[in-house]
């Protein structure tokens, strides 16, 4: 009797203990989970959340800008800066010098740093934004501002002048740097980093050039040339969608996914222009059109003489790498003896296009693409285009990629053979046809002569004068360049073979 009741009592007691224990377990577990939830939620707050938590005692010093501030980082950076500046000097020298060589404008035989120090003012990180559009990729946008006092002296050697040190002063860089991290499943978890500058807001890189112990006029047009070189490097290498891909330590990874590659093809027909401005004293303008998506690959139409409402009806193929952000830039020029004049320019963002449908666009010509610079509202006429966007499938993409490589390879060969001075020569060959029209006139003056950065939208009247002058100075010396330096542009106006 006692035994049975003992068993029953014991069993009840045992079960009760176990129940108590499991109750404690679940109690503590709920508490822990609740806490984890709270901490997770507090890790990313927005204004409404905080208002709900704090109620009336909302702290005044807190704001929620799109780009989150990182004051602590600036404090640390300014302290660290003297050391970073020292360390970076070597790295910059090694990485930028080949780049300058690659993009070196014609007429200059060597472009090197003779002095490089980054100054005492540290850059500021104005804000940081983190987002993710794609699984396995994290995008970090860094609002970067540097109004520094670096001392950079470029040793410029030109054909006419032995060596001219040029100082870059008051460098200011304001831009949003986009860093894309490609994630991996092995330490350090990042397989590749993609660096690029956002187009919106447009990167602002300002500096003044000063010749040391001499005058900038010693080489005419030199400052514009350096401007152009810097501009081209920035727009054609760094500005989104162009990017630099850096694979990170140890993990073999396919970065081709991250590289910029041809995404689609544009079939553009330049139909006509209306009511163009008359630029000539006698008669009317002789207009022609230059089209490009990337300044590296430009195409142009034939010249129609003495006509303010020209009809071209010429068709070109252009390659688009990123439909989301790229645009077709259309520039109308008046062919003139010496320096060609720009009649106007227009931009057609690719995002407006629908794939596989041809559409007609009538675009108003503007004096400049930079809206801030446009002062007059004079009518400059319109240009009419028919555009069809074809999205590449994989095979076509590969073919286009090969083709692009081939063209760049060809230019490199020409460069090695000494026909053109640098990869930029070929580019400028195209630009100079556009800018100066020397090659077009058929006077037999080389195409690599013109230094006009018209393709970069930097043509001011003063500059075009300098360019003209420059063209003449160098002409005699660069005779060997004539003719051959224009691998890009040919009369049929296509930088790529038609693929139909």
């Amino acid at each position: 009797m006692g035994f049975t009741s003992g068993i029953v009592m014991g069993a009840i007691f045992g079960v009760a203990v176990m129940f108590g224990w499991s109750y404690m377990m679940s109690y503590r577990r709920t508490k822990r989970v609740a806490k984890a939830m709270v901490i997770k939620q507090l890790a990313s707050l927005n204004r409404d959340d905080l208002r709900k938590i704090c109620g009336d005692s909302f702290p005044d010093w807190i704001s929620f800008p799109v780009y989150e501030q990182a004051k602590w980082m600036n404090k640390q950076l300014s302290k660290l800066w003297p050391f970073v500046a020292d360390a970076a000097t070597m790295v910059i020298k090694e990485s930028v010098e080949p780049l300058l060589e690659e993009y070196r404008p014609p007429g200059i035989t060597s472009l090197k740093f003779s002095k490089l120090s980054l100054g005492t003012v540290a850059p500021k990180i104005e804000g940081i934004r983190v987002q993710s559009h794609k699984k396995g990729q994290v995008i970090m946008d860094i609002d970067f501002r540097w109004g520094g006092n670096p001392s950079i002296v470029l040793g410029v050697k030109a054909a006419v002048v032995a060596n001219l040190p040029i100082q870059l002063k008051d460098l200011q860089v304001f831009t949003v740097i986009r860093v894309v991290f490609q994630l991996a499943e092995e330490i350090p978890c990042i397989s590749a980093v993609v660096v690029s500058l956002l187009t919106e807001p447009k990167p602002k890189i300002d500096y003044t050039l000063k010749a040391v112990g001499g005058s900038l006029t010693a080489i005419p047009g030199i400052s514009d040339m350096i401007d152009d070189t810097v501009n081209t490097i920035v727009t054609d290498m760094l500005q989104w969608p162009h990017r630099i891909v850096v694979p990170l330590g140890g993990i073999p990874v396919d970065t081709s996914e991250l590289e910029l590659k041809p995404q689609g093809e544009l079939l553009v027909t330049v139909v006509r222009a209306n009511d163009l401005k008359n630029m000539e004293m006698i008669g009317k303008s002789d207009p022609y059109v230059v089209l490009y998506v990337r300044p590296l690959f430009k195409v142009k139409t034939r010249v129609i003489e003495n006509n303010l409402n020209p009809v071209w009806n010429q068709t070109f193929n252009l390659i688009a790498e990123d439909k989301e952000t790229q645009s077709i830039i259309i520039e109308v020029f008046d062919r003139d003896i010496g320096q060609d004049k720009k009649l106007g320019t227009a931009k057609l963002p690719l995002i407006e296009l629908e794939a596989e449908t041809e559409k007609e666009y009538e675009l108003r010509l503007l004096p400049s693409l930079d809206m801030m610079k446009i002062k007059d509202k004079k009518d400059r006429g319109t240009v009419m285009l028919k555009v069809r966007y074809h999205h590449f499938n994989n095979e076509e993409q590969l073919a286009a990629l090969e083709e692009e490589k081939r063209i760049l390879e060809e230019r490199k060969k020409l460069k090695e053979a000494g026909v053109i001075g640098s990869t930029m020569d070929a580019l400028d060959g195209a630009a100079s046809l556009v800018g100066s029209g020397v090659g077009m006139v058929g006077t037999g003056i080389g195409a690599g002569v013109g230094f006009v950065g018209s393709g970069l939208g930097a043509v001011g009247s003063g500059l075009s004068k300098a360019g003209k002058f420059m063209g003449r100075t160098i002409t005699g010396q660069s005779g060997r360049k004539s003719g051959t330096a224009t691998p890009v542009t040919s009369e049929n106006g296509s930088s790529k073979p038609h693929q139909q």
């Binding site: 068993i7 014991g10 069993a11 901490i39 890790a43 938590i53 004051k71 050391f83 983190v130 978890c189």
Partner: protein, 538 residues
């Protein structure tokens, strides 16, 4: 009878309790799922006041304190990266643990021990604020507040004698605010040589430890006990001022301290090319080590001589014998105008054997580029004798460790006296009326010392060191430090005082070392940072 029944009752109770525990375990623990499910997170805006009240103690520090910075961008970054990070960490941990386990198993007669589950969960660590401290020293100090309330599931299963036992770690929570100090700062990437980590408070640790499904930590009292032990253990190791030191790079290498001396004897040159129009050239040799900012050394000028003999000796300070290159430039001296280059040559220091003099005959070249066709032309030869003498370990100039504390005075310091070291670091917000090309001028006991001029800047950095050997302690003395701007162009005002300070030296004698920023007198906002050290032989 009653006695027996009580005994039986106790026996029955004993049997019953084990049965009851068994049944209870089976019902309440064994049948419960042991998986860790992902918690569902509702937006904060929808939460009720009850939840909100629970949140109050956890409000991030950046909300409460203006001196903490928000790091939500980093939280977001970490959250996006967490799934990958989780896998990577777990994989690495497993790879490290496996061989260790395999080695240990045979000792304990266990069949196998393996990770049944290993994941750090879906919740990443979060930063609830970041605070940085700015001091005058060359170091970076930051204090992030890290809270990790994760839902990891680490299950280890051990098999022995056909039975399986599992230990499961769940719901790990660690809250800590480590102080991370990066020092010393060095001029090569990543720009710091060591990381010091220490905890400012005892960290908060909480977790659930399930032994065969039952959470030991929920036994009343045990949790508190274990938590205290863990806290104390961690605190013993890393609670400030105890630190964890992680070396990133060798600071002596990064700082590029001198490691030896290169003795150079310039003997003669032969068959130099004529540069002057009238008569022979007037050659002299300039030498330096590549990438060195020090000024180069020069021999005397031998007038009108194309085969000059110098036989002059020089010594150059070597910082990195493996990469540095000795450069020799032969110039033609001119009375007027620029001196012409007659040719140059270089010797990589790695070609030299330490302590062994080596006579070399160098062909002079036009440029450093070996493939330059201009170098084919003979430009004469230069004969030099080079000896590289590395410092012995004990005569190595002060190592890095000593730079932070005050080192001993050199030998020969009079007893009772010492060495007063003044390091002029930098100044800021200087404002000259006519020009701002500042340099510092020290005046002490009538002795004047000057720093270099830094051109056109309001915030110069000098980093220059001056030493004064003293017979007795300068307790009652003062040192005058002026900041002066000079300009050669402005003829009306070639010199301008930007401000000055008078520093009493009694404090230095007492403190051995003072590193402070002072406001300049006679300046609007100008400040100057100087470091004073008093080194005595004792």
């Amino acid at each position: 009878m009653g006695f027996f029944s009580t005994i039986l009752g106790f026996c029955g109770f004993g049997v019953g309790i084990s049965m009851g525990l068994g049944i209870g375990y089976y019902l309440f623990i064994y049948l419960q799922p042991s998986d860790v499910e992902d918690p569902e997170i509702r937006p904060l805006i929808e939460q009720d006041t009850e939840t909100l009240r629970r949140m109050l103690p956890e409000i991030p520090l950046w909300v409460k304190n203006p001196d903490y910075d928000r790091m939500d961008w980093l939280n977001k970054f970490l959250a996006l990266m967490w799934p990958n990070l989780d896998k990577a960490i777990c994989k690495t941990a497993e790879n490290i643990a496996k061989p260790i386990i395999a080695e240990q198993i045979p000792k304990y007669k266990i069949d196998s021990v393996e990770f049944e589950k290993l994941t750090l969960g879906t919740l990443p660590p979060t930063f609830q604020g970041m605070k940085v401290y700015v001091t005058e020293e060359k170091e970076l100090i930051m204090e992030p507040f890290i809270k990790w309330a994760g839902n990891p599931n680490i299950t280890i299963a051990a098999k022995a004698f056909g039975l399986k036992a599992t230990v499961q770690l769940v719901d790990l929570q660690v809250f800590a605010s480590p102080r991370i100090t990066l020092k010393p700062l060095v001029p090569s990437f990543p720009c710091f040589a060591k990381i010091y980590v220490s905890l400012m408070e005892k960290p908060h640790v909480d977790f659930g430890l399930k032994l065969v499904g039952a959470d030991l930590m929920s036994i009343p009292g045990l949790y508190r006990f274990v938590q205290e032990i863990v806290k104390d253990q961690v605190a013993n190791m890393y609670l400030w001022p105890k630190t964890l030191e992680v070396q990133i790079m060798d600071p002596t290498k990064a700082l590029k301290r001198p490691v030896g001396i290169l003795n150079v004897k310039v003997i003669r040159a032969m068959k130099l090319k004529k540069k002057d129009l009238l008569g022979a050239s007037d050659p002299y040799v300039k030498m330096k080590l590549a990438d060195d900012k020090l000024t180069s050394k020069k021999t005397s000028v031998k007038h009108k001589n194309l085969n000059p003999e110098w036989n002059e000796e020089f010594s150059l300070v070597v910082k990195d014998p493996s990469t540095q290159v000795g450069q020799f430039n032969v110039y033609d001296w001119e009375q007027v105008g620029k001196h012409d280059k007659m040719g140059l040559s270089s010797v990589p220091l790695k070609d030299l054997i330490p302590e062994e003099p080596k006579e070399m005959t160098l062909n002079l070249l036009k440029t450093m580029d070996p493939n330059d066709p201009q170098n084919d032309k003979p430009r004469g030869q230069l004969v030099v004798e080079l000896t590289y003498k590395p410092f012995k370990e004990d005569e190595m100039p002060r190592g890095f460790e000593e730079t932070q504390t005050v080192q001993k005075a050199p030998e020969g310091t009079p007893a009772g006296g010492g060495l007063l070291v003044v390091i002029v670091h930098e100044a800021e917000d200087l404002d000259g009326k006519y020009h701002t090309n500042p340099y510092g001028k020290l005046t002490f006991r009538g002795e004047e010392r000057k720093t270099k001029v830094v051109k056109k800047t309001r915030d110069p950095r000098w980093e220059e060191e001056f030493q004064f050997m003293l017979e007795e302690e300068p307790t009652n003395e003062k040192m005058l430090l002026e900041v002066i701007s000079t300009s050669s162009r402005n003829l009306l005002h070639p010199k301008e005082t930007l401000g000055y300070i008078n520093v009493g030296l009694a404090d230095v004698v007492n403190n051995k070392r003072i590193n402070e920023k002072y406001h300049l007198i006679d300046s609007k906002n100008g400040r100057i940072q100087i470091e004073l050290q008093w080194r005595t032989s004792s």
